[in-house]
């Protein structure tokens, strides 16, 4: 009797690509829940549209590339890309915004480069940047938290707006949208106000705000509502760290670099630079640090490389926020550092056991 002779090792840890991707998707739940709680169902509609687009386009491309459908569709990587992209898009946008973004991410940024594992740039961020430069109006129309919107859309109204562009009678798009906290800060800083003035005026408690009829954009730490969303992503990220799905190097380096720079500049000129906690809990920093910069395919590999890569994102994100033309900057920072990954991997290798260097 001849036996099978595979090669060692003969056992395997209970882990699969699907398992990794699914855990990352599950880790999004706290942040998404906070998002829906504060900003309504628009984000959920976008997530569903992006997910459907991702699965369908992935299937079509796999068929065209003559790759097996089942393993690649069930690996959930396209789904994750779509969800991350949807989270970067404003909640109230027409349906074609998430659809075009996802198509670009999956077809061009992922599959034209060779599919899973081969894309040099983060597909979700490519999709986001394409949308941002192509549809600046749609991509910068954000909404305030539910309790301060003139009208907060329910699920049905969100779907109707997304698909048909129809709003409930008497509600205009301008009435329900507003700038993000980061955008507002940038605008007011340009007008010569100091950080504390801006935050005091636009961060009053709810009752005073109502009396003065201003929308309270700023909360205790970051933007109102946004700080809770960021907190949700932080919790999900810590869970991923605990599961060792991601390593600590990239988030710690990225958040550390940002905290250090924002701390330094807000110490030197507190009127013009917001403090570290404000930056860390505003915009896409937490989502970026734990879910986007840690995308294994496009990040640096070695521990030292990951530190450099993460710190680079933190530095670039701060530079663009402080002096660049865009209020937030995570996508650009991530894509710029993606370009450096081959160089980082080439030069920052770990010291091999028994070697001097």
């Amino acid at each position: 009797m001849k036996l099978n002779t595979p090669t060692s090792p003969f056992i395997h840890a209970p882990i699969t690509v699907t398992g990794v991707m699914m855990r990352v998707i599950l880790a999004l739940i706290p942040g998404v829940a906070a998002y829906v709680w504060f900003f309504g169902y628009g984000i959920a509609v976008n997530m569903v549209l992006a997910a459907l687009t991702a699965v369908i386009s992935e299937a079509v491309i796999l068929r065209l590339r003559q790759r097996p459908l089942r393993p690649y569709l069930t690996d959930c990587s396209a789904l994750l890309t779509a969800l991350l992209l949807a989270l970067a898009i404003p909640p109230i946008v027409p349906w074609w915004v998430p659809v075009i973004g996802t198509l670009f991410a999956i077809v061009i940024a992922k599959h034209l480069y060779g599919g899973l594992g081969y894309n040099p740039f983060n597909p979700a961020m490519i999709g986001y940047v394409v949308l941002l430069v192509s549809f600046p109006v749609e991509m910068t129309s954000w909404i305030p938290i539910n309790t301060f919107s003139e009208h907060s859309l329910n699920l049905f109204e969100s779907i109707r707006f997304s698909l048909f562009g129809q709003l409930p009678a008497g509600v205009t798009i301008d009435a329900i949208t507003s700038a993000t906290p980061l955008d507002t800060l940038k605008m007011h800083l340009a007008q010569g106000n100091t950080v504390s003035e801006i935050r005091a005026q636009l961060g009053l408690d709810e009752e005073t705000s109502r009396l003065l009829s201003v929308i309270p954009i700023f909360g205790a730490i970051g933007g109102k509502g946004w700080e809770w969303v960021s907190g949700g992503f932080l919790i999900g990220g810590l869970w991923l760290l605990y599961l060792r799905i991601i390593s600590w190097h990239i988030p710690v380096a990225m958040l550390g670099a940002m905290a250090l720079l924002t701390g330094l500049f807000s110490l030197i000129n507190p009127g013009h630079y917001a403090p570290p906690l404000f930056h860390l809990f505003s915009g896409a920093v937490m989502l970026g640090a734990f879910f986007i910069a840690t995308d294994p395919v496009t990040a640096a590999a070695s521990p030292r490389g990951r530190l450099v890569y993460g710190a680079g994102i933190g530095v670039l994100a701060f530079v663009i926020r402080a002096w660049g033309g865009y209020p937030d900057s995570i996508a650009f920072a991530v894509l710029l550092m993606n370009m450096l990954v081959p160089l980082i991997d080439q030069h920052l290798r770990p010291r091999v056991f028994g070697h001097d260097r």
Binding site: T5, F10, G117, G354
Partner: protein, 555 residues
């Protein structure tokens, strides 16, 4: 007994907790050890036929000392060590030599090699034995090593390196620490655990001998924390011995790899490509230590060992004391294995062992475990996905390599790059493959790359040899030409400078030169043709006295 002046013997103090270091990486697979470790070791039945490969160790195969039909006694040397790195083979029982021929041997290649087959006579009759006993202490280390060499002792932990070489660090090296490896970090294997529990004093006696041979200062017995009974047994066995310590080490695969273990115990790293002796450490396995004791105190060569028979196909997993050469089939039967449901049979552990092609192969000196996996209980083969560069392999690598980069380069057949990423530091422990979410057979890629590099190196050596041969032949032809020219010149110079004959002389010289040139051209043409056909020198290149110039063969 002791007089009042004698110091009172105090109970031994609990040993101070020594400082330990941590190597990076490692994995914690399910260990599955208790299924076999809870049972006491039993002696396997004497088989009717034993198959003894002549190559059971690292180094040269042994040379047979017997012929077919010879009667042999238990413990009789039947094959002698062939060269420095080699080990002899002994008859595990008394009987008759029935065959000396090629048989399949347990080896990753699945190839056959020369084996001596002994048919047991059932009497299990020993040859005459003359144990050294305590006299070993009077022996020179070199004489002691020779006894160990003649006993055929090789590393029983798995690699099978001849032990006497390990005990010979050379004059220029001082060995500070003798490390005893009782770590046994691979899942399923429990033979060292059982040996430490059942025969701790054998191991310690063997260590005292090995320490004497090495003149080592201290002796550290490293045992993974998941073997508390073994730790306890060994602690009791070293009571009262100075400079002996039992060191429990963290349970983490591959803690038992010698270089990782040395790092854990001493904080020192054995240089890449180097030997542990260079940093004053020698590591021996507990089984090897016990074998040394048997050789010195009982004059028993290495003819048996503890082997774990376990796995999902085995109904009664346990350890057996087996004679080297016992067919695996008989051991599986004794442990109630279901051969009809046998999917894979692995020699060694599930991380670094290798799959055997048949259950009719024999146990060899390095067979620490036979892992029989039931086909019906094997998980379905996973789908291999592309590398997602997650770096899990890198975090798991105990050598601090970048497995995913090596994988990309091996896949692209860029072997130079794999070496740049220190491919040859890879110990093939399997941690990277174990954790890979894409289920890539990473270790297999590294073995493939190593194989290709070795093949290319052999080819290059061959080509180099041919080139040097060609160059030396060219040099010889040049030299001969120059000598001929010099002779001609000398002849010309020796001729009388007669004015009247000058014209004729000159003409003759010209003719001579033309003839020389023609002959040279012919010689060269012949040489070229000959060289293309075969690298040996052509007949025309033979020296005048008929002997061939030997410079062709000096390379």
């Amino acid at each position: 007994m002791s007089g009042p002046a004698d110091p009172i013997r105090l109970p031994p103090e609990p040993p101070p907790k020594p400082r330990l270091w941590r190597f990076s990486g490692g994995v914690s697979p399910p260990y599955n050890k208790t299924m076999s470790s809870v049972h006491e070791t039993t002696v396997a039945r004497l088989p009717a036929r034993l198959i003894l490969p002549l190559h059971q160790h690292i180094g040269e195969a042994a040379d047979p000392l017997v012929k077919v039909g010879d009667q042999v006694l238990k413990g009789q040397q039947i094959a002698r060590a062939n060269g420095y790195v080699s080990a002899p083979v002994h008859a595990p029982t008394s009987g008759r030599i029935t065959s000396i021929a090629e048989y399949p041997i347990p080896h990753p290649s699945g190839l056959s090699a020369l084996c001596i087959v002994v048919d047991s006579d059932g009497r299990d009759q020993w040859r005459e034995r003359a144990p050294l006993g305590d006299q070993f202490a009077a022996l020179e280390p070199s004489a002691l090593r020779n006894v160990i060499r003649e006993a055929g002792i090789v590393g029983l932990g798995g690699a099978g390196f001849p032990t006497y070489i390990k005990l010979n660090p050379g004059h220029d090296k001082v060995i500070d620490t003798l490390v005893v490896n009782g770590v046994e970090c691979e899942p399923y294997i429990t033979c060292d655990d059982r040996l430490m529990r059942e025969r701790p004093s054998d191991i310690i006696q063997g260590l005292i001998i090995a320490r004497h041979a090495l003149q080592a200062r201290q002796c550290l017995i490293a045992i993974e924390e998941n073997k508390p009974e073994a730790i306890e047994a060994m602690r009791r066995a070293i009571e009262g011995l100075e400079n002996f310590a039992v060191v429990p080490v963290p349970t983490l695969y591959p803690q038992g790899d010698a270089k990782r273990l040395i790092k854990t115990l001493t904080g020192k790293e054995v240089p890449s490509n180097g030997l542990s002796m260079q940093i004053g450490v020698v590591v021996v396995n507990v089984g090897t230590a016990a074998a040394i004791y048997r050789a010195i105190y009982h004059d028993e060569p290495l003819i048996s060992r503890y082997t774990t028979i376990t796995g999902t196909a085995v109904a009664a997993p346990r350890n057996l004391e087996v004679l080297i050469g016992t067919p695996i089939r008989e051991l599986l039967e004794q442990c109630a294995a279901d051969s009809s449901d046998l999917g894979e049979l692995i020699m060694g552990g599930p991380m670094m062992g290798f799959a055997l092609q048949s259950i009719d192969l024999p146990v060899i000196k390095t067979t620490n475990c036979l892992l029989a996996l039931a086909r019906s209980k094997q998980p379905p083969a996973p789908t291999v996905m592309p590398c997602i560069r997650c770096g899990a392999c890198m975090d798991a690598c105990p050598v601090n390599l970048m497995p995913q980069q090596m994988y990309w380069h091996a896949k692209a057949k860029d072997f130079e790059k794999t070496q740049e990423y220190n491919l040859f530091d890879c110990i093939e422990c399997g941690c990277c493959s174990y954790v890979c979410p894409s289920h890539l057979p990473l270790v297999q890629y590294y073995r493939y790359a190593k194989g290709e590099i070795w093949t290319a190196e052999r080819e290059r050596e061959k080509a180099d040899l041919a080139r040097t041969r060609h160059e030396s032949r060219q040099a010889r032809l040049e030299r001969e030409k120059a000598e001929k020219e010099a002779r001609r010149k000398a002849k010309q110079a020796a001729m009388p400078q007669d004015m009247g004959q000058q014209g004729r002389e000159a003409k003759q010289a010209e003719i001579q030169a033309a003839m020389d040139r023609a002959r040279q051209r012919r010689d060269e043409a012949i040489a070229r043709v000959q060289h293309q056909r075969e690298p040996t020198p052509p007949a025309s290149a033979a020296a005048p006295d008929g002997s061939r110039p030997d410079d062709d063969h000096q390379t």
